[in-house]
């Protein structure tokens, strides 16, 4: 395992020495007895329909993605504090924070955003969303989005805080050049900070059955993804103001229509401080530097780490801005850590159902020579006793 990580780290350092990064920090309370099951649906939906898609669009502009995914028992305030405090980012990086779980506010809180409860029971451990937003904004990234999907209702025993006291598709996803351009305009065409919570002061946030996806999930995440998908498909010149106002309006209307089912009005709130900016081109100047193993912040699980690093290598291999020779060279290097009969299983865009299976080396050859990929996201990696990769599961994002 260590050997694989070391090899991956070495190849990555030289590949992405001058790349910018989009950092995704997601906390999902998937083990809560009340909301856990719905949160699993929301997390899956969030990744397949938003995060992977944005990463695919930005990969074309030489943005690599770094995902800090916390769920289950890792949905801890301590993890949040650590990741937010230690996050290192460059001036042109993008940071997105997304929380799904319980929340609330004190009657003495003087900001409009809620406190995040995480998967724990101590009020003093709750983290105000404003603290997260302020800390992330201090990093001076190009664009910072801080979003919380939780209640903003008044909660007994919660003290005020300013800081911390401690729908199924088969096959691969395809998206058009217009959609890619629109995503790039939203994430790279704006500089600034956006903070959003799923409900206004005193309001709860709701989750219920959504016929369109034949499952229950929180209505805010559903509307965010639905509007993001529709808007990036339709609009040539998208703006955050319009996108967020559409989400706000749809969540309000949906909850209002559910009154007879015991659901009260939920109105998302947000602050947008952004200015339009030029979209940077893809300038990759690779400097031959002695390989250094990067600090591994994601100590959550090693498999997650391998998945992410493999995804980053695939980003390089499928990026047609890099020379074919380089891509082949990296691809051949990667093959040395594959077992003899290693296979790749391709998952459906919105599911974990395998829709195709192939020899891994053949797949890598095709991916290296092809122009059809925006992104290949690695979902799992299996390793045998000889520390060789025997199987990977991937999701593909293809050009239309």
């Amino acid at each position: 395992m260590k050997k694989i990580l070391f090899l991956l780290a070495i190849s990555l350092y030289s590949l992405f020495a001058n790349c910018n990064t989009i950092h995704w920090i997601t906390f999902t309370d998937t083990t809560d007895p009340k909301v856990g099951e719905m949160d699993k649906v929301a997390q899956k939906y969030l990744y397949s329909k938003w995060i992977d898609k944005v990463n695919a669009a930005l990969a074309e502009k030489c943005y690599k993605s770094k995902i800090y995914k916390f769920d289950g028992e890792d949905t801890k305030p301590e993890q949040c504090k650590e990741i937010i405090t230690n996050l290192k980012c460059e001036k042109e990086d993008i940071v997105v924070f997304y929380y799904i779980g319980h929340g609330g506010r004190s009657i003495a809180d003087n900001v409009k955003y809620p406190q995040l409860i995480f998967a724990q029971n101590y009020e003093e451990m709750c983290i105000p969303l404003m603290w997260v937003a302020n800390e992330l904004q201090k990093k001076n990234a190009r664009l910072t989005l801080t979003i919380a999907m939780c209640c903003n209702s008044f909660t007994q025993g919660l003290s005020p805080k300013n800081g911390i006291s401690f729908g199924v598709e088969k096959g691969s996803a395809e998206f058009s050049k217009n959609e890619i351009n629109a995503i790039q305009k939203l994430f790279l065409g704006y500089r600034g900070d956006i903070t959003m919570s799923s409900s206004s002061i005193g309001q709860p946030s709701w989750g219920y059955y959504i016929p369109q996806i034949n499952a229950s999930m929180d209505i805010f995440t559903y509307m965010l993804i639905k509007n993001f998908t529709e808007y990036t498909n339709d609009s040539l010149d998208p703006s955050w103001h319009i996108l967020l106002s559409r989400i706000k309006s749809d969540v309000s209307n949906s909850t209002n229509q559910q009154r007879a089912n015991g659901i009260t009005m939920q109105t998302p709130q947000y602050d947008i401080i952004v200015q339009k900016t030029e979209i940077l081109g893809c300038e990759q100047k690779r400097i031959p530097t002695p390989p250094v193993v990067e600090d591994d912040i994601i100590e959550v699980n090693k498999n997650g780490y391998v998945n992410q690093k493999m995804t980053e290598i695939f980003d390089y291999i499928i990026n047609t801005n890099n020379s074919l020779e380089d891509r082949i060279e990296k691809s051949e290097k990667l093959k040395t850590i594959f077992a003899k009969n290693a296979v790749v299983r391709i998952l459906g865009a919105d599911t974990d159902i395998v829709v195709n299976k192939q020899n891994l080396s053949d797949y890598l050859d095709i991916a290296t020579g092809s122009k059809k990929y925006y992104k290949i996201v690695i979902h799992s990696v299996s390793i045998d006793e000889n520390k060789k990769i025997t199987e990977i599961k991937v999701k593909e994002y293809l050009k239309k």
């Binding site: 009340k34 008044f154 007994q156 025993g157 929180d218 559910q258 015991g262």
Partner: protein, 178 residues
């Protein structure tokens, strides 16, 4: 215009029923809803609580009210009224009937922390109501079941403020709802 007229007529009918009930209350110094099941049904038209549960509540001859300070890991009782007097009991029953309450199986992304509970009992029949006014949710607890309802107006909150006037969380919520 027609819709508005119907709404006005409904409101007037509701006011007449309410004032009749209150005048009865004044005369009889407390009243039993069991004697007036038609009126109970009329008033509770906007209320999803089933007839069987309403019957337990309205027929109760003993109501115990408890006030709590809850936090995420503890629930502590801070005040209690073991046996509400007839006026308070009548007013509480009326508040429950006049509240717009809808049953829900939707999930809310906040922790349910009861601020007040009411135990309605008569003989062997009993039910408990727990209310979180922050989430505007009410749970009805019977021997074998627990049902969740959303509250859409502040009538029950106002009544609870009258029952426990020294609490500071409830008046704050009342002010917010206005």
């Amino acid at each position: 215009m027609k819709h508005f007229f119907i709404q006005m007529v409904c409101i007037i009918i509701m006011l007449i029923i309410t004032s009749t009930l209150f005048s009865c209350n004044a005369k009889r110094n407390g009243f039993s809803f069991a004697n007036d099941s038609i009126i109970t049904k009329e008033i509770s038209a906007n209320n999803d609580i089933s007839d069987s549960i309403l019957n337990i509540m309205m027929n109760a001859n003993r109501v115990q009210a408890n006030l709590y300070v809850s936090s995420m890991d503890t629930i502590r009782e801070i005040a209690s009224k073991n046996n509400l007097n007839r006026e308070d009991m009548g007013a509480l029953k009326l508040s429950l009937l006049l509240s717009e309450i809808h049953e829900t199986d939707a999930i809310v992304y906040g922790r349910f922390l009861p601020k007040v509970s009411f135990l309605f009992s008569k003989g062997k029949e009993a039910c408990i109501i727990e209310v979180d006014f922050g989430l505007n949710q009410l749970k009805v607890i019977l021997i074998n079941s627990k049902l969740t309802f959303t509250i859409y107006n502040d009538i029950l909150l106002k009544e609870t403020v009258l029952l426990f006037p020294n609490d500071d969380f409830l008046p704050f919520l009342l002010k917010q709802q206005k």
